[in-house]
Symmetry: none
Subunit: 285 residues, 4 copies
């Protein structure tokens, strides 16, 4: 009978052996953002038993959430475990940084005083790619995210096409549509302490439509795009205009409008396709 | 034994209930278009065995096809039979008129000399709704179509919201985006024999965006809309702008962008949802 | 009880309403071949209840069989019924002519005295396309066959690319590889009564490799090809060389080598894919 | 209760039995190639819990990849775990050596200065078969690979039929078709520093067609062959000619042409059949 109890006590562990592991409260010190920065990480089921290295997906939360959003609301572990078990996704490491503490968002601010984007590329990425068995070149790196994190996915991959194989903005904030919108946005965030030149520079680096307009021809196929938004989402205009702009400029991209709004139900439904899409990029053809 | 008899008595109905009938080469004389006009029709499985009347879907073909397009390429019979058998669509009559003979298209031309739209509403609709057991009021009438026929679905339902419960433009031609486009389009079709006033009138009645702009507030919920187009379709711009315009004007509509191009593969995949959507309209809530 | 008997008597008919119909002993008089010629035909499930017209597949038997081969050994009815019911094939008419009576084969002989190919195009095709509701243009016509009938599929579609949308040679006899082979073949069939010029002409019109060599560039995409042969088939050489020749000349074609030999087991397994492939051609994209 | 205990006692084994382990960055020193050589290895799920020895599959990557190719792009772990769990493959060890570092390829070069093939047989094979619990005789050894690694599979098994039970070249480079091709190939690789005799010797040991021609009759059944290539693969000619040559020489072999090109999608789809085929060889009949 004791043996029976022992085995039963062992069961959860044994069953978890099929599962990846999530840590949602890790941190490391950032010089750029002057303090400890949190992140969550998903390690695939065979991470501990094998010795191989893995591709990486940076998965960005939306405004109001933090590094735990994709873990708690997005069910990243169950969905990714299932996608890997079914062969729809390749084993990968998923890094989910906190962009809620201090100033909110994935951008450097208008005066470059709060430099989250610099933190991401100069500190976070090197830190996790050194700490975990992550393959370090573009071919094995992707970025995805929702809403504000969809905006981050757009701008990061547009600023650094040399670093990402794929980008998947979901229900994305596509940044200001005009310079005027930029000013209004910055005023709203009490952030309009920039000069006219700084504001224009901010607009040019945060507006997805401007970034597409400025894209050199030889960059058009640098990143594989999967863009998805619900037909009831309030961000319909920017995403529809991005689709038109990418089609007119002949930038290959997958674009979807499914039934739904700006909800976690929508994003949980979208995540398996995102994992499958980035896996295709990691797999080669 | 009684139970057995009962089941056996039921058998013919169950078995015969499975296959609708298609006629793809019917015709009747039109005064407006001065000659015989062809159409195809789908009658639901129980049409002959019952005495009831049915809702009707007008299903419009694209440029280059004729009344047989949805029959041969669209597999309307198999798909509708299946949707009805699975309970996803209600039994309905589907009318597929030829808009390829004489002048191509569903519109009255710029000088109102070729009057296909008048033919549709003044001759075709009365003829089929008298000849077959079709319910005659708006609540039981829908229009759908692809490409040029998607354009027809838009304009017919926007011109006559009092006649259609639902409209489903697939991969739709949304008409000229500007008055200049209208002139270019008419020149291309050797049809620019209208006065400036006639051309502007044509533009206002054929441009989906203009029709949306002109829609009175009390008409916004008159028609249930299901609009669907592939992300690789060349008609991306008009449909994306229609989505934006409808959202901004708060016209309720379902809008979908799936993976695919301007192909029959796309439309065959879309047809079950169209049948299901119009059935919901025919059912009330 | 009488009612029960009546219903039970009715059952087979009712159940057959889901099935196509096969006639395997029809015939009509041929002037060219001087006598009655037999053929079998498959009519799709909705042929009698509907009034629409259908695409046509000419399905050719191999040496030693006759018009009943695909019916009895090939299970054409069950396989086609199933493919249509599952939506993998579009409803079509399948015509299976006898090429066993008189001289065997699908070709005109070396002296053009026995003119089966002329019979096929000048008499059989017009007869069946007039007698049954068959769509009459290239877009809705395909040819397939096995062994000797695979050879017929090759030569008919290569001689008349303007008549066939698709051709599917299975385990095909690809005709003589050289002029010397031609002579040996004709001698074997006691048919070598032709002049040198006649024999060379026969070679040029019956050798698939010669026909591919002679194909004009603007014909390369005229016919959609699906070519399939088992890895244990004795006709491996001709088919492998045809694949190489078509690849080198950039003639688009699907080519398959599956596990198996020159057997009805192979051809029954191949038929669903053939039906699906020709349906794609009939469907447009 | 005893039955329950028994089942529970079985549980750990059953649950732990599900995942193999992959190491993708191992290495050992080579005298022949003058430096450390990398390899990846797959150990089957029960490797650690059991004490038994296993058969071995040498799985060779293509040009441009390295020892991680089959791990990352080929999904060797998931696919092999699944094949073993489903009983379609026997537990085996899979060794994937790097043939990308230094000179690329699996051959000794023309002057026998870079001797990868010697390294493979004299150093790699002894090293891994000593280091891991690998069965050491021919009956339990197979080789497979893709493209350049398909070429390696051909030449290794043709040079050493006494060492391999089975060989599975996928989308294989079949080596130069002629002596002239050999010279052109060597020039292209800046490798033409050999004498005429050396070049001819290189041709005779690297051309699969020459190796087949030279095969003694008593070797025809020494190796079980599974050869697979897509119909859109650019290597169609060599593989088709190998099929013809093997058929004519009556060398038993499985040969497949499926739908597809020179892609990882093709090779991932092929891998389960390869594992099943080599397992049949390891099983005896």
């Amino acid at each position: 009978m004791k043996k029976l109890l022992y085995l039963l006590a062992l069961l959860p562990t044994l069953l978890l052996a099929q599962s990846g592991k999530v840590f949602d409260n890790l941190s490391f010190p950032s010089k750029i953002l002057k303090g400890d920065r949190k992140f969550a990480i998903y390690l695939p089921p065979d991470y501990e038993s094998s010795q191989r290295s893995y591709p990486v997906l940076y998965l960005l939360h939306g405004g109001g959430d933090d590094q735990t959003g994709w873990v708690q609301f997005g069910e990243v572990q169950n969905i990714t475990d299932k996608a890997i078990a079914e062969g729809k996704a390749t084993p990968m490491i998923i890094v989910m940084p906190d962009a809620n503490t201090g100033q909110r968002g994935y951008a450097n601010d208008v005066k470059n005083e709060w430099r989250y984007e610099d933190f991401f590329f100069q500190e976070l990425m090197p830190y996790v790619e050194k700490t975990y068995r992550i393959k370090k070149d573009k071919h094995y790196r992707a970025v995805a995210g929702l809403s504000m994190g969809g905006g981050g996915s757009f701008t990061y991959a547009l600023h650094h096409p040399e670093l990402f194989a794929a980008a998947c903005p979901l229900s994305a904030a596509t940044g200001p549509l005009t310079l005027e919108d930029t000013k209004a946005y910055l005023e709203q965030r009490n952030n309009l302490n920039g000069t006219a030149a700084e504001i224009e520079a901010y607009y040019k680096r945060q507006s997805v439509l401007e970034l597409i307009k400025a894209m050199p021809d030889d960059q058009k196929k640098a990143v594989r795009w999967y863009i998805d938004i619900g037909d009831d989402d309030f961000l319909f205009e920017g995403n529809s205009l991005v689709h038109i702009a990418m089609r007119k400029k002949e930038i290959p991209h997958e674009f979807r409008i499914h039934d739904g709004g700006h909800t976690w139900t929508y994003w949980r439904a979208a995540l398996p396709t995102v994992l499958s899409f980035v896996s295709d990029s990691f797999h080669q053809y």
